[in-house]
Symmetry: D2
Subunit: 338 residues, 4 copies
């Protein structure tokens, strides 16, 4: 950590700063520059709380040198981590596609959905029994029973299931239904109590990026999970909020190579929520793979026009099958398989 001293700071104020640094257990090293005095802190800068040094009168600016995340960082572990879901590897040369409906509706819909997901060649299935909806007046998900529909349909086609957890009180049900991958949604990326709880489980977690979360905040959210013991974390970029409103979100493809450099954990992309339109799924999915993503989360539905939510962004079984073919070619072009 480096502290820039105000040019007008008095000797007493500088002394107060140096004492405070020592109190925190670090060693200050003063460098007198032409226009500014700079103090370097020797020791573990993570001991310094937010704003503590900034509150002193001598301080113009505080610059951290170390990254605030540790367990999830590439520095901590140099090689790529593979997160396995019932033998299916995320983070290796093989790209994984998780497909399925936005929400679980009926047992029959889930059976048809699972059949289509398997037929298209996807290896995992997604679907939500509990739905975070902007309006209290719209469909909120089928609930516990939905997990049964999902489990049964997926088992028939031997597909591990991925589903979103929003409430700590539902963890027992999730364990009982043997949910294979727990998804933490964009609105809960900084629901720290939820992160701590999934950190205590031995279940892989897909951590979606918050709507306006920085890369650093996202890595810190994963660090919460890892710090509580669960290192099986998969990052999922799903588009960020910007000034542009012609499409739902802006898919941040730059986040893919940047994350792959900052962390050893796998990174997947959700092109369906990013674009918010079925017609945008194919170009965004291809871009994600070309940029180095380890997998995709895609919404598909046996009959998109009849879907109970997000009807305009789900792919039909035919569209999903066609897309898988196209993605395979892009994957091979960047030296991977699908």
């Amino acid at each position: 950590m480096i502290v820039i001293v105000k040019p007008e700071a008095s000797a007493a104020q500088l002394e107060q700063l140096l004492n405070r640094i020592r109190e925190l257990g670090l060693t200050p090293m003063v460098s007198q520059g032409a226009e500014r005095t700079v103090v370097g802190l020797i020791g573990d800068e993570r001991l310094v709380g937010d704003g503590v040094l900034e509150s002193l009168p001598a301080v113009e600016q505080v610059m951290p040198i170390l990254k605030p995340y540790k367990l999830v960082s590439r520095e901590f572990k140099k090689t790529d981590s593979i997160v396995e879901v019932r033998g299916i590897p995320f983070g290796g040369p093989e790209i994984q596609v998780i497909a399925g409906p936005c929400s679980v509706e009926t047992a029959e819909q889930m059976r048809q959905a699972a059949a289509a997901v398997r037929a298209a060649g996807c290896r995992l299935m997604r679907g939500g029994a509990f739905k975070p909806r902007t309006s209290p007046y719209t469909f909120q998900g089928v609930g516990d029973e939905g997990l049964d529909f999902f489990r049964e349909a997926a088992d028939a086609y031997d597909l591990p299931i991925v589903t979103e957890l929003m409430d700590v009180r539902k963890i027992d049900v999730f364990l009982e239904k043997r949910v294979d991958v727990i998804q933490i949604g964009t609105r809960n990326m900084q629901n720290f109590d939820l992160l701590k709880e999934v950190g205590r489980l031995n279940v892989p977690v897909i951590l979606k990026r918050g709507m306006s979360a920085t890369i650093k905040e996202w890595l810190m959210a994963a660090e919460y999970i890892a710090a509580h013991g669960n290192h099986r974390i998969i990052f999922a970029e799903r588009g960020i909020r910007t000034f542009e409103t012609q499409y739902r979100n802006v898919l941040d493809v730059t986040a893919i190579p940047v994350l792959k450099k900052e962390t050893h954990l796998p990174v997947i992309v959700d092109p369906s929520h990013a674009g918010g339109k079925a017609a945008l799924v194919a170009p965004l999915a291809k871009a994600a793979i070309a940029a180095g993503a380890d997998g995709l989360l895609i919404e598909s539905h046996p009959c998109p026009e009849e879907a109970w939510c997000d009807a305009d962004q789900a792919l039909s079984p035919e569209q999903l099958t066609q897309l898988m073919g196209e993605l395979r070619r892009v994957a091979e072009a960047v030296g991977r398989t699908l």
Copy 2:
């Protein structure tokens, strides 16, 4: 709701659209324009799910006419709602200032803080026993015991207490400790399970705006609370996330008059988290009152430099007292009291 039809849509596709509208329980009214055909929907457009019509091949664009929120809307209730906290009114001519530390630290710190809050003329006190922190390695709050320190200190000075709830499992403790106002923080604005639960309580709620929440999403989050029975809601603007990084957030003063027009509920402002620096609190607090805010949430600490979190944004007792004097003059200039 109005649907713009694609210029290239076939007669069969248009027919499919009209049938779907009728299935949803609404009546379509077709207008043939020079360049576009437009279909108006007569009936309750809230019956139409997101994306349902957009998924049809005939549809170019769907435009809602009605606002998606109801109970919290100015249309539903024309006159200003007063939310009373132990007799202290939010939303009337009197402006309320809630002050206190970022986090509860010790019994002694809370006593000193309460004394200073009362001496400065503020009528309520804030403080967090559970802290949402970006890093798992920083101070996470004192926990349940902190509520005791808070309750005791505030009672000694007859100050109602405002504190943040992050976890549904803590509601019982909050009720037991007689928390006067529950704060829902920015990271939980769309934690829908939490919103539903506080919606079932008979305790006033301060609902902070999500970091990148639109006015509409914020009103919908309040609608969740209201729809579950609790109408005692106070909106708190606390700065939004933008491209500017020289200060922590951008205080959105425009939100104040816009909310006052859209909803009958009170609107307060948190200038401390908005600016993130003690020096910015006074100008932002004055701006908020000048723009029509009904109250303020201000961080203060008996000794800011010693604060366990956000040390650089808390006001000292002297600064708080001076600010209250300055705010009183601005309040009077806009025809209010403080």
Copy 3:
């Protein structure tokens, strides 16, 4: 255009609205809904100025139905337009890569740069003689003489040249030096006088997206050029400004398929300015092609570490050659050539 009438509007206010619509040369059609009265406008809604109807007391909201752009729209011309630069087609199945240094430095540097661009298999060359720099104290470009260095070096390798125009007073020099493609930079996307002047030329134009320009504003900027007679326009996405500051900009890949749907004109991508780091150029360039871009603008330099500006984002000759090979595979995977 559709006008939503306030529920509380009086009959006289509604009448005033209808009269104003007729004065503007359009025909109003009133529909009485359950909760709102809606007025449709029959005729050319482009006749209605911004804010004219909004200023009337009866009006709650005005919703345009037509797109404000015409000549550049896909509706105006259904088939893809090919913009040819000395026989090299933009917008067809072949993807074009334009490479070269950020700024023209010396005759020798440009000769080496041109040799490397040609050797790598790129078909056009970029370079700036006039540089838009944030600081008045940094290198502002070599100026007129730089165009000579550029012209000469590019001619030796038969490469058409692309260079940025910032000042209307430089158009004569650009014509004299036979600049093949004029680039309008991100800071000038809404420099309307400049757009009008290049609209009067018969030279292809690359129009970069403004740092926070919406798709609609970008299309309107192109419409300025087209409306003055020049239809040879190429859009260049170069990253947008968001809350994320870990990388320079966020490359908006979604803009590619959206633009290809909205306009018949070609769309290229600048991965160098988007990411701002040499290491990000390859993944972003691949993503752009996978998403459907018609070309790329890439910074390269004979010796990046010695570059006079943006030294950390230019590719070396070896990196450029290697990237071209990788891009060729991605291009083929999406059915195109490079």
Copy 4:
């Protein structure tokens, strides 16, 4: 400037970095920390071009210590600068309100507008003869003749005039018509050739903030003007672009105290363009003054409903007069006059 060295950098790479720093005319000072090596640069860090050090293999991160602006900085000149316009001071205790129509329409309209501006107690007048419009098909301004209408009307009421310059080729006409204050609009904040030219004039300049310009970029744009000799610069905050679309822009009131700290130059606010609605002008104008603004730019029109542009945001003469009374009270509450 401080350079963080990569933990994996070799001794040779570190040596290369130190040599490069010496070549640039600075002295490197190496500090070996527990987890990182840090190199401080002694000398004028402004000599180091963007990206030069970042391009070296040893470098993890480069952190500037000095601010890149100089002449406009508070460090350069500690006391507030007063910019006088024909004897009217900007930047002192008196707050200045500049009012008038969005665009010059006719001689008669300008006469009525000037009478209303003077009657309301405003001391300067605004109006545009050349209008930057998003669409090439909407009214582009009356042109040169408009400046005559404006000059004549303003002279009759002894009001200095403020008008926007978009094109360097119009400077002679502006000088000939004796424009009192030249406004640089939001879309031209980084039109560097225009900034250089107004930097060579002896006419006060109002520099509007770019739609998504950071405080630092805005200060650097002013530095361009100052570096070319013209120090009579007034900053004008006019709202920034964010994710929120319910109002035109988000007025950034935080920018006011931050700028007042960073620069010695005056800061005014344009509440009309910020909110984009007449009803928002009063609350935003009051907030601006409460936050410390030195003046306001307000749109007013003799008959807003008939205005040729931005009809929904102009105040009527009565509204302007009433607002001036309200603003006077707020100004006095913060110790200023109006």
